[in-house]
């Protein structure tokens, strides 16, 4: 069974903006799928439909065999299985780093404070900032904040992690520390769908790279296939632009 199964996904905003036009995607356990494409092509919308932050206009999304689009599905429970990391980190500024990571564990997973804190500290250790547990988000650098956001998602033991341009809001010197954490995650076998402009990361860590344009997956394959031998003209144009600038 696939961890993520997307069929005929369509999202239309205000009945006029066709952000996603029929996307099929299946992601197996341990796969890292990197999605690339020009600005406004619908990458974020695809990710946001996968945990139903946006309600799809049409199509189905299965997470671990559960159809999210079904009205019977308890969305909160399924969302807990899908970690999401945002471009702007979205840490809770009124809570300490530790509380950021324990809150949902306690409220959604029903863990005791003691258990949640030990999980939180383990995850903070994993992303390399165990000593910041009692700081508030504003006291951290952007790279540290994004790593806390990753730890917060990981603490829920998600089946899959979604990353929406996790390094786009970071200063260049902090991009690497976040990408390193993501690379370690991939090496540990985490299933991931990553929207990014970091082609180096895609080449090194991706099982598959999908190129999205105008709301469709135009081409998808191994990094070698897509980067070195793209079949579609649009893919070639896009790669020419991003790789030679």
């Amino acid at each position: 069974m696939k961890i993520v199964e997307v069929r005929g996904l369509t999202k239309t905003f205000n009945e006029t903006i066709h952000a996603v036009r029929g996307v099929d995607l299946s992601v197996a356990q341990g796969e890292v799928v990197v999605i690339v494409g020009p600005s406004g092509c619908g990458k974020s919308t695809i990710l946001r439909c996968i945990n139903l932050l946006e309600t799809p206009t049409a199509g189905d999304v299965w997470i671990n065999g559960v159809n999210l689009v079904d009205d019977e599905t308890d969305l909160d429970l399924v969302r807990a299985e899908v970690g999401m990391v945002f471009q702007q980190f979205n840490l809770f500024p009124h809570l300490t780093v530790l509380r950021n990571v324990t809150l949902a564990q306690m409220k959604v997973r029903g863990r005791t404070q003691e258990k949640a804190e030990s999980v939180a500290l383990a995850q903070l250790e994993r992303v390399g900032i165990p000593d910041k547990a009692n700081a508030y988000p504003r006291q951290l650098s952007g790279g540290q904040q994004q790593r806390v956001a990753i730890a917060r998602a990981l603490a829920m033991d998600p089946k899959v992690m979604l990353f929406d341009e996790p390094t786009s809001a970071l200063d260049p010197e902090m991009i690497k520390e976040v990408l390193d954490v993501m690379r370690d995650l991939a090496a540990d076998g985490m299933t991931m769908i990553v929207v990014t402009h970091e082609m180096g990361f895609a080449r090194a860590a991706a099982s598959r790279v999908g190129f999205v344009d105008e709301g469709k997956i135009v081409e998808i394959g191994t990094p070698a296939e897509v980067f070195d031998n793209p079949q579609q003209e649009r893919t070639q144009l896009f790669l020419n632009q991003v790789l030679h600038h």
């Binding site: 969302r79 999401m84 945002f86 809770f92 009124h94 809150l103 959604v108």
Partner: protein, 281 residues
């Protein structure tokens, strides 16, 4: 060239034009009398003068003993009305932002109606007509005590203003916070209570504190209902003794001290409620 940019490090190794920097960058601390809070001094002096009058002047002492008992009504009406208004405001404020068509429109209608009618008119209508009518319709045998009719009137009025405060505060929390909460599997309710409202409080508390103080002051309008609060007492004192000056100044004194104490408390409370601001630069 902007004289201030000369201080930034990236140009510090370049030869600087000879600006009389020291004079231009003079800070407030150099002229303490410009930044000294003289207003506190003035307000404090007024309070001290009035206090002295109340303690040493016979007329003012008489006014004080006639007016002061009203403080019980004024304070209990303030706290009750504020508590009810805050709950109403929270409900109506969240109602306005709700997806539910019924809640949304009920909340909007309530706010528009209240804001479209003068306060003093509402006090009459709610306390003397609406509350008695509703309690009759509900089959309540005894009539509602005047205290509660007055409090309900004030609470209904301020609920509508406080609703706008809550709505604005909730809307000031970036949508990404809700998305982060929901994507972790938190329910709508948990997201609201653990993530949105605590952050909204930052922008809600200062205007909410202002309305708390405004309610305290507006309890004086309740004197039109004949309830024995501070203002009513002062007017009765004036009518029976003709010591109008003593009556009015003593009344001002009591309100001023109450309001100053309440605003000091609100400032302390606001500071206490935002521990995450400690590291703020």
């Amino acid at each position: 060239m902007d004289p201030f940019s000369a201080a930034s490090p990236d140009v510090s190794d370049q030869p600087r034009p000879d600006f009389p920097e020291a004079k231009q960058r003079r800070t407030d601390t150099d002229r303490w009398w410009e930044s000294f809070p003289w207003w506190m001094f003035l307000v404090g002096s007024l309070v001290v003068v009035l206090l002295a009058l109340v303690v040493f002047n016979e007329d003012y002492r008489a006014a004080w003993s006639a007016i002061f008992p009203g403080i019980y009504f004024t304070i209990s009406a303030t706290f009750s009305a504020f508590a009810i208004a805050t709950v109403l405001g929270l409900l109506a404020g969240m109602g306005q932002l709700s997806q539910n068509v019924v809640f949304k429109n009920l909340a909007r209608a309530y706010i528009e109606i209240i804001r479209g009618i003068p306060m003093i008119v509402l006090i009459f209508v709610v306390a003397l007509v609406v509350v008695p009518d509703i309690s009759k319709a509900l089959g309540v045998p005894n009539s509602v005590p005047t205290f509660w009719r007055a409090v309900i009137a004030l609470a209904l009025i301020y609920g509508a203003y406080i609703a706008e405060i809550f709505r604005g505060g909730i809307q000031s929390v970036p949508i990404g916070q809700v998305e982060a909460g929901r994507s972790l599997g938190l329910s709508k309710r948990s997201t609201t209570w653990s993530i949105v409202l605590p952050q909204a409080m930052r922008s809600i508390l200062p205007p909410l504190g202002n309305d708390f103080i405004a309610i305290l002051k507006d309890t004086s309008l309740l004197s039109v209902l004949g309830v024995l609060e501070l203002t009513r007492n002062a007017r009765q004192f004036n009518a029976s003794t003709f010591k109008i000056k003593a009556g009015f100044y003593t009344m001002c004194f009591v309100y001023l001290v109450l309001v100053l104490a309440l605003s000091a408390f609100m400032r302390w409370f606001e500071a206490k409620m935002s521990p995450e601001r400690e590291g703020e630069r």
